[in-house]
């Protein structure tokens, strides 16, 4: 019991990490897209809990709301919209390329690992106080992010809103009935 209390953060991290990876493996392994989507949702929620452990409370809430609430609903809607029964491929992996993909993915992972380990080695070490204070006063994570986001990062914030607008227009254009290749240059009226 003492061991659990003394190492609570570590035990929590390892449990959440294993569950996150399990959810990720489920995305690759499940045959049905609905099962894969639910597995991904599980992984998202576990990542949100990991955010909490790193004092990113606002990000954890945003993760659950945007990923769990928005993106997953979008995925499930599309899965149900395209009538997956008649369209689902018999074979879930691309033939021939699957072993190559695993080897390539692992090699790329090793490459990234070198960069990241170097990053850990050269970076400093801090606690969470700077993540929840504005001008040295501890208020909260949301207030601190707001203070930085709307002053120092105001221009990127505006640019990202334009990106969202463009994405929205693009999604509408792709979703139109006679857009793209089967219509006359995307100018259909049906």
């Amino acid at each position: 019991m003492d061991f659990i209390v003394a190492n609570f953060a570590e035990i929590l991290f390892y449990c959440l990490a294993v569950l996150t990876v399990a959810g990720g493996v489920g995305v690759l392994a499940f045959k049905s897209p609905v099962h894969a989507a639910l597995s991904l949702l599980f992984s998202f929620v576990m990542v949100a809990a990991l955010f909490l452990l790193r004092h990113a409370e606002l990000l954890a809430a945003v993760q659950v709301l945007v990923y769990g609430g928005g993106i997953m609903v979008l995925f499930l809607f599309v899965i149900m919209l395209v009538n997956i029964k008649g369209l689902a491929p018999e074979e879930i992996y691309l033939s021939g390329i699957a072993p190559l993909a695993v080897v390539g993915g692992v090699l790329l992972g090793v490459l990234i690992a070198f960069g990241l380990v170097f990053g850990v080695l050269v970076s400093g070490h801090g606690d969470g106080t700077a993540l929840r204070s504005v001008n040295g006063v501890e208020i909260g994570n949301t207030e601190a992010i707001g203070a930085v986001l709307y002053t120092k990062y105001l221009v990127p914030f505006e640019v990202v809103s334009v990106v969202l607008l463009v994405a929205m227009i693009g999604a509408i254009v792709f979703g139109r009935r006679s857009a793209g290749l089967d219509g006359a240059g995307g100018g259909g009226r049906t």
């Binding site: 945007v66 395209v82 491929p89 691309l94 993915g105 994570n141 792709f174």
Partner: protein, 100 residues
């Protein structure tokens, strides 16, 4: 003591799973899901380094990444609808109109 190394290793595993999923899954929808997995790995990294460096820039950047991921999901799913209308399938190896 859990430090940035643990988070880096975890995000690396998630990112590799995402890459492998993007390369070998045949269903367009699950390929997009693997892409979201990679976005999540990046966010995890940003948060871990934000904590380690005591700098909020990482968390702000993670918000931007989530925004772009949402935009990407909307576009990608629009593409799936367009593909289903055109070819009546979600299998990626049957989307070969431009192969020549």
């Amino acid at each position: 003591m859990i430090d940035a190394t643990h988070y880096v290793v975890l995000s690396l595993i998630l990112f590799c799973l995402g890459i492998i999923g993007v390369m070998m899954r045949r269903n367009f929808i699950t390929v997009l899901m693997s892409l979201e997995l990679m976005f999540n790995a990046v966010n995890l990294n940003l948060i871990a380094f934000s904590f380690r460096l005591s700098d909020l820039a990482g968390q702000v950047l993670a918000i931007f990444v989530i925004t772009v991921a949402a935009a990407e999901a909307a576009i990608g799913l629009g593409l799936i609808i367009a593909l289903v209308r055109l070819k009546d399938t979600v299998a990626l190896d049957e989307a070969d109109v431009m192969r020549g």
